[in-house]
Amino acid sequence: MEFIYYFGNVFQPMSFLLLLVGTIGGLILGATPGLSPTMAVALLIPFTFHLEAAQGLILLGAAYTSTVAGGAVSAILLKIPGAPANIATTLDGHTMAKKGKGARALQLSFLASAVGGVFGVLLLIFLTPVLAKWALAFGPSHLFWLAIIGVTIIGSLDSASVVKGLLSGCIGLWLATIGFDDIMGAQRFIFHPALGGGINIIAALIGLFAIPQVLSMFAEGRKDANVEVIEVEKSSLANAIRELFSHTRALSIGTVTGSVIGLIPGVGGQIAGLVAYDQSRKFSPEREKFGTGHSEGVIAAESANNAMVGPSLVPLLTLSIPGSPTAAVLLGGLLIHGIFPGTDLFDNHPDVAWTFINSMLIGQILMCMFGLYIAGLAARVAQVPKSIMAAIVLGLAVFGSYSVQSSMGDVYVMATLGIMMYFLERFGFSAAPLVLGLILGPIAEANFIQGSMIANATDGMGAYFLGGNMNIFLIAIVVASIGYSVGMELRERTRNSTGGEAS
């Protein structure tokens, strides 16, 4: 119950102001199609550099929470999911809006998001200290394998092609080695003076997540937003609350499914929302109503995608494995303050850890309160032409990457990586494993070197890195995640070729 001692920190004026700014800004950004939660959080990181660690994380956490929920606004009113996590919400949410129940769909969406989100953060509160203590027993070989797990799980599960996902992870691991070697002081892959200090993580995050979206918006050409916003009617909040709790089955399925999926690294909110929607339909006596504007569909999808937010941070805060691309960006936010997740975080910076986690709990409630009132405004923002969005994001990316170290080199790195990522994405490569490789690379290398020294003084590399129950268990996870994804890919290919032959 240590977290209770730090509740007061969230209500300090500056912290609470940042929580409000992050929540309201996140809701508006989340409602804007084309601006993903990951990109929003990445663009915010430069602003946290000048804040205290806890305050910076409050801003990032609030933005993460509310961008996921804000995506429901455009999903319901415009039929355009603000983020992949809101795809399932469009199925019933937009139909409800077309039937004149837009306000009710929004109310249910924010209320269900808050219930799911609070449950997810409570899970984070109670699981994190237990796992962090367990992580104390880990030696360098285990930490090395954990870093590799982080890259391979995201690489294999988050990518359309397992090989390209793993290759993206390798590119990230290589990029992490650029610069001077920490132990020998040797130059590695420094082919431009700007790379002497290695690749700045914040500049890289901004480039990898923001620039491909800017170029995608350019690629669409002179295109009007061309979306019709459905006007929302007045609707009683009390009735919405009653309706929410009359669908406890959908709410429970969404909340539990989202929380469990959130705990698995690499499986994002999109999967959580779709699985919860599908399961709710299967267990519902009114399953034929799903897809026709049924409120259970909205409740299941939205409770699930916000329930996954808290648990997705459990592997990050305890084992340094970001559960999602956005969690990887949050890890970057921790590292720029010199804070490492795991035992260091909870033993040496408990105020930072618990203030951040508590702020996410309060943030869920604020998100629900403000979401209900600014949904209309957020939907208007979603109509802003992409030309304006692209120019704004480009400007923010340049200023943001420069502001971290006042270095033009960081701006060049940001732009180069961003342009490269745009073209790689066109050919099935993915930014998430590349970012994971870049962030986890130094952790993997430091523990590999430390482990090698221990191994050379003891039983040798093979026995040290491949022996022992924990090493075998961790290697099994790496193999299983790759094997599972390869199996799924082959099954999908067989199904497609059979379908192709049949047609």
């Binding site: 359309a160 290589w174 400007g395 066109r426």
Partner: protein, 153 residues
């Protein structure tokens, strides 16, 4: 060989070349202790890259849409402006001057609104001015970041 297959082959071939270069540097540079970890990852990198390249050449690459000519021609002016802005104008002209210019040009290039009405040009100028005021407030005043300032501002 269709265009999509050529595109996949070229892109994965470039990744494979980078992988081979990384591998060569890792195994030839000294001190070897500093390149122990790069050697390990570059080996996996090259194997995966060559596998991807072979799949692309054989036409087995199915993931990724490739680049459509229309998308590329739409993107090209914006990309060129962005490159000039980032790699030359930001330092050469100063951040605020170059950002104002790049923002206004990009807005004008991609804005779906009419290019023949004065009203729409005035609107674009106002949006640019508002954006620059916000950027100045955020970075110069709030974060106290001293960005390069060359001509004008």
């Amino acid at each position: 060989m269709n265009l999509n297959r050529v595109q996949h082959s070229v892109s994965s071939g470039m990744v494979a070349l980078i992988g081979l270069w990384v591998c060569w540097v890792s195994f030839t540079q000294q001190p070897s202790e500093a390149f122990l970890f790069p050697r390990m990852i570059s080996t996996v990198f090259v194997l995966l890259a060559l596998w991807t390249f072979a799949k692309a050449v054989l036409g087995w690459s199915k993931v990724g849409t490739g680049i459509y000519a229309k998308h590329f021609t739409n993107m090209l002016p914006g990309l060129l402006i962005a490159l000039i802005y980032v790699f030359w104008a930001a330092k050469g002209l100063g951040f605020y001057t170059s950002t104002s210019m790049a923002f206004f040009i990009l807005l004008s290039l991609y804005d779906p609104a009419s290019h023949t009405e004065i009203r729409t040009w005035v609107k674009r100028l106002i949006i640019t001015a508002v954006f620059m005021v916000v950027m100045y407030g955020l970075f110069a005043k709030l974060l106290k970041v001293y960005t390069p300032r060359e001509i004008f501002f």
